[in-house]
Amino acid sequence: MKRENIQIKELISDLQDFYFLSFQGLLGLVRRPFYSKDMIEQMDYLGTGSFFIILLISLFIGMALSLQLSAELSGLGFKMYIGRIVGVSIIREIGPVMAALVFAGRVGSGMASELGSMILGHQVDTLRVFGVDPVRKLVTPRVLGCLIMLPALTIIGDTVSILGGYYIAVFVSHQSGSVYWSSIRGVLNFENVLSGFVKPFVFGYLIACISCYMGLSTKGGAVGLRRATTRAVVASFIMIIVADFILTRVLFYILGFSL
C-alpha cells in the first residue's frame, strides 16, 4: 500500500478513535462501574490546581479591560457604559474563553503527559489485563472533573474580573460605583448568563477529550510524550476558539440576539 494511502487510513482511524473515546468518556458518567475515588481526585487536582492562576489572570484582565474602556469612552462622554461593556464582554466572551485557555494550558498538558507516561510504562496495558476499561477508569473521571470545575472556575473568574473592572472604573477613572453596579446588573439577564454558562461546559468537555486522546495515543518514548503534550495544548486552544465562534453564533440564533 502507498505511504499516502496509509497516512489517510491512519487519519481516518485516529478520528474514529477520538470520537469513540469522547463518546465512551461521556457514557461512563451514567454507566457502571463508577470510579468515584478517581473522580474526586481529578476534581480536586483540576479545580484547586487552577484556582489561583485563573483568579490572578481574571483580575488583571478585568482591570485592563476597564482601563482600556475608560480611556476610550471618557473622550466620547460615555464613561457610564464601562460597567455594561465590561460585564457583557466578561460574562459572554472573555471570561469563558480566558478560563478555558488557562485551564487547557495547565491541566490539558498535565493530563496528556500523565496518560502518555502510563502508556509508555505499560500501565494502561496492565489495566486492560486486569479487565479494567482504561476509558472508564482514566478518561471519564477527567471528563467529569472538567465538566464541573471549568464552569465553576469561570463563574469565579468572571466575578473577580468584574471586581477588577470596578476597581479601575471607580478608583482610577473616578466613575460612580453605583453607576458601575447598576450597569452590571443590567447585563446580568438570562440570555447573557446562559451564554456564558454553556460555553465552559463545551470547552471543558473538549479539553478533557482532546488531552486524554493525545495522551493515550502517545508513541515513541520521551519525544513522543513531548509531542503528545504539545499537541494536546495546541489542539485544545484551537478547538476552544473555533467552538467559541460556533457557540456564539448558535446561541445568538437560539436566544434571539439581533445583529
Binding site: 507516561s117 500501565q123 486486569f130
Partner: protein, 253 residues
Amino acid sequence: MIVFDRVSFSYAIQQVLKDVSFSIPFNERVAILGGSGDGKTTLLKLIVGLLRPDSGRIVIDGKDITDEKEDELREIRTKFSIVFQEGALFDSLNVKENVAFGLREYTKMTEEEISQKVRELLGKVGVEHAIELMPEELSGGMLRRVAIMRSLAAFDPKMFLYDEATTGLDPVNADIICRLILDLAKGGKGFIIVTHKVFDALRLAERFMFLKSGSIIFDGNKDQLMHASIPEIQVFLRELNPPSEASFHKAEG
C-alpha cells in the same frame, strides 16, 4: 496451549512480526530471545489480546481470540499472569494498593482480608516492609517482585509471561528474580520470558526461540541453541564467554 498460526503484525508501515507460527503448552518454560525492536514484547501482547494481528490466527486454550472483543478477552487474560518491563506499577498507588488492585477488581474480599493477603504475598518475596512505599521509592528488583506478586494476587494463572524481567538489574537482584520465577514454576506452571539476556534465559528455560526482524529464526532446546550456527545467536552466546583481555587488546590493535 498457545497457538500462533502465521501471525503478522505491524505498527502503521513498520512490520514487526512476519508469519510467526508456533505452539507452546501452558506447562512449558520458554525463553524468547532477540534484539531490541525485533518484536518480543509485541508477541507477548498478542498472546493476551492487547494487540490484534493483521493476519493469521491466535488460539489460546482451544479458543480463537484473533477477533475477540475486549469484554470477551477478560476470561482469556485470567489464564495468564503478565509482568511488563520494569514492573509497570501504577505510579499513583502505593505498594499495598498496587497489589490489592486485582483483588478489588476481581474478588469480593473485605478490606481486612485484602490487607492480610497483600501482606502474605509481599512477605513471600521479602518486600513486606515496603508496603506503604510508592513505586518511585522502590529499587528495580523490588519493583519487579511487587509486580510479580500483583500479577498473581487476584487469579490463579495457568502460565506466567515476563517481559524483560531481569533487564536493568544488578546480578544480585537478577538472581533473586530468576529464583522467584523458578519457584513460581515449581507447581508445573510454565512461563514465557522475553529477554535479551542469554545467561538468564539459559538458567530459566527449557525451550528457546530466537526472533530476528519479526521472524522466528530458531526454535529448539538448550543443546541445539548452544550449537546453533546462526550468526545472530552466536553474537548472543558471546555473553557467556566474554572476550579475554588479550583478545580485547588484539581487537583494539
